[in-house]
Amino acid sequence: MDKTKIICRCEEISYEEIEEVVGHGAKTFDDIKRLTRCGMGPCQAKTCTNLVAMVIHEQTGTPLSEIPLPRIRMPLSPIKLETLATNSTTFSTVKSVLDELELEEGRVK
């Protein structure tokens, strides 16, 4: 197999680049994303999720059913900031990353 082939077409991340970070201990899509930008382009991992899972599987032998999905955040697909800002005065569209955390006395539980 030619390992120069592209896996993430948006960010042009190749098989060998992913192989390298898997060799350094990356186990999940999100590990690879943080190390290479894989999945961070316009399609937001919609094309490469399964391809990356296959690379992890081929390199580590981990069954596909044990390779978790990438984290999927809001907004689910690209949206203009102008649109996201909305003209509504009663509804806040913007969600803080802190919404994902459970807080107790101002600290993360």
């Binding site: 030619d2 120069t4 082939k5 592209i6 896996i7 077409r9 098989y15 919609k46 094309t47 490469c48 399964n50 391809l51 596909l64 059913s65 044990e66 978790p68 999905l69 984290r71 999927i72 955040r73 809001m74 907004p75 689910l76 697909s77 949206i79 203009k80 649109t83 996201l84 909305t86 003209n87 509504s88 509804f91 569209t93 969600k95 919404d99 994902e100 955390l101 459970e102």
Partner: protein
């Protein structure tokens, strides 16, 4: 904006769910990013054989028209050319019409977001002229654009066989079908044999070694077990199978299980097609990739469950209706797919991925 039932995705499963819930008097909203109802059916010119009663065998776009006509009897709110951007802490969903974002609060949600085609990677697979086979079908049947003159097909599922027939009909020269596995993956042998009979070469245990071209694909090297040869094509159509579209389920904090024959990761659901999140139901190819008949039936079962929960259908009636639909599902869908669906349902209480969103 409030609604009893929010249906996400206006493909076959979503429309059937809308008909079922609206016919019981529920207030129904259906949302789709496209400008028309019908989803993928709109560009499907192949005959659909596995449809449940009362549907006769018909072509995909005809089924889309039939379903859309049925919808007109009911006062349904349509949000076409609208997208969901995510969920808020109070349980409302953010919807955009591309100008603004507004919230919608639904008592029950039926997610029928369908499936997406999987990519196949090989050197230079990102060249223009290389696309999924479904993309070629959309170009030909919906947009009336012929994407190329001569093509090789990578993959051999039933989905691909149907489309290859349509591509040949518009004059595209198919130079070969390349399958990585030792056998052709399609199950409807009639369609495969028709392609054999017109002399179309099938290559098994084969793959694309490399594509070449400047600015667009011009040639591909095909790797067979014992040799490599070059075909000159301006179109490479990849058929990597399909997988459920999961983004929204993830955002809704649904749990997931894994089923090879269902398309990989699939949201967990029970016999009522209820996900691990109480008010969220699932229908169509998102429940596992299957035949058209199964998509319609899953939409009906999910809608029946929602009608029961919203008390417009008695428990007994819902159970009876559901049991009949399950029988029909079993008879329409391939046995191994149905069995994997049952296995998936049995693992409902012990999903492989859970609490993904809030960690």
């Amino acid at each position: 904006m409030d609604t009893d039932v929010l249906i996400i995705g206006a493909g076959p499963a979503g429309i059937v769910a809308a008909i079922e819930t609206a016919s019981k008097g529920l207030n129904v909203t259906i949302i789709d990013e496209s400008n028309l109802l019908g989803g993928q059916l709109r560009q499907q010119t192949q005959m659909l054989q596995s449809l449940p009663s009362p549907y006769q065998s018909m072509r995909g776009f005809e089924l889309a028209q039939d379903l859309t006509n049925q919808l007109t009897q009911f006062p349904i709110r349509y949000l076409l050319e609208h997208r969901i951007i995510g969920i808020y802490a109070n349980g409302s969903l953010g919807i955009t019409d591309e100008l603004n974002v507004f919230p919608i609060m639904a008592k029950k949600i039926i997610v029928a977001t369908g499936a997406t085609e999987n990519a196949i990677s090989f050197p230079k697979w990102t060249l223009p002229g290389i696309m999924t086979i479904g993309a070629a079908q959309t170009l030909v049947n919906r947009d009336f654009v012929i994407p190329g003159k001569s093509a090789v097909i990578v993959g051999s599922t039933d989905f691909a066989m149907d489309i290859i027939h349509q591509l040949i009909d518009v004059g595209i020269n198919i130079k070969g079908i390349i399958e990585q596995q030792p056998t052709i993956q399609a199950r409807e042998m009639k369609k495969v044999n028709e392609l054999y009979d017109i002399g179309l070469p099938f290559y098994v245990n084969a793959s694309i070694k490399e594509a070449r071209g400047i600015g667009e694909v011009k040639e591909v090297d095909i790797q067979l077990q014992d040799r490599v040869f070059t075909e000159y094509v301006d179109l490479v159509l990849v058929d990597g199978g399909r997988s459920p579209i999961l983004d929204l389920f993830y955002q809704l904090n649904c749990s997931f299980g894994f089923g090879d024959k269902l398309g990989g990761w699939v949201p967990s659901y029970n016999q009522s097609f209820q996900t691990s999140v109480n008010d969220v139901f699932i229908a169509g190819n998102a429940t596992g990739i299957s035949v058209h008949g199964a998509l319609l039936i899953t939409g009906k079962i999910a809608a029946t469950s929602v009608c029961e929960e919203l008390e417009v259908l008695s428990r007994e009636e819902a159970e009876k209706q559901s049991a009949e639909l399950w029988k029909e599902l079993e008879s329409r869908e391939y046995t191994d797919v149905f069995q994997e669906r049952i296995k998936h349902i049995e693992s409902y209480k012990s999903p492989m991925l859970k609490n993904q969103f809030i960690s």
